[in-house]
């Protein structure tokens, strides 16, 4: 059930999620986004340029973390602003476990126009991968019954 603006309080936590990223997910995101940068699929070149292994697109990490916002609001259209800093790459080994991206969120403010401010925390292997991850989400008016 989508949260109502009236019911949301500063300090409320959004349902946290863990996203698993395997090599297949990166390949799918390459195709969907048009970003075929080799460091996101080619282990040989990723290591050649000094990375520990293939890394996820920063934008894929941002998109996955954004699902905490859109799943909570119930509608991708609810996100009015969303910004992140890419602090550390998410390393995705070639195995059956992949990388785990842990994302949580908290309401940090309420605005006019039924909008709330949210701050997200995103970590992988205990390391913060997104910094200053903030969004403004417009929550719908309650349905007229």
């Amino acid at each position: 059930m989508a949260p109502r603006f009236e019911d949301v309080q500063v300090g409320d936590e959004l349902p946290a999620q863990t996203f698993v990223l395997q090599r297949m997910n990166l390949v799918m995101y390459c195709g969907a986004s048009g970003d075929f940068n080799v460091i996101h699929w080619n282990e040989r070149i990723a290591k050649l340029v000094g990375l520990p292994d293939v890394i996820a697109h920063g934008m894929l990490t941002m998109a996955e973390a954004g699902r905490v916002l859109t799943d909570w609001a119930g509608d991708p259209a609810a996100v009015v602003e969303y910004g992140v800093r890419f602090t550390r790459p998410v390393v995705v080994p070639d195995d059956d476990q992949g990388a785990r991206l842990e994302v949580s969120g908290v309401v940090t403010g309420k605005r006019a126009d039924d909008c709330v401010e949210v701050e997200l925390t995103a970590t992988s292997a205990g390391v913060e991968v997104l910094g200053k991850a903030r969004a403004v989400v417009r929550l719908g008016a309650p349905p007229v019954s």
């Binding site: 969907a32 986004s33 894929l60 699902r67 800093r85 890419f86």
Partner: protein
Amino acid sequence: MALNPALVGKIYPPTAAYEVGREKIREFATAIGDGNPICHQVEAAQEAGHPDLVAPPTFPFVLSAKAMAMAIVDPELGLDYSRVVHGEQRFEYERPVFAGDTLVVTSSIEEIGVAGRNEILTTRADLETLDGELVARTYSVIISRGTAPSRDAQQPAGAA
């Protein structure tokens, strides 16, 4: 070689029109694991009050990356792509992106700054309809590693 600060404010020509398609939105949502029916089923999107499928919030980057590429390869800017790291990304929406939208993207150089040995390039991309309605604005902060202009007259041996 440092970035050319005279390029702050440069506006690049708008991109060719991009037709936002239902199948692309479905593909993108699937790739990021978003099964929200509003991204996949037109009836669900319309029941939620939208004209058609809604693109997930980071979708505009698919368009703005192409626009930003013009700045990245601009010889006047002096950016060395091998030193580029994506530092930050921000989206601001006037309205959602819907399947059926035809959008053009105009990118510009907002800021060029220095942070330690790195240079910081901020670009902006405006996504507009063919009628000039602003749909969304995205800001990218790109870090150019180690290219900040040095005050020293002599470079240590081996410096790029």
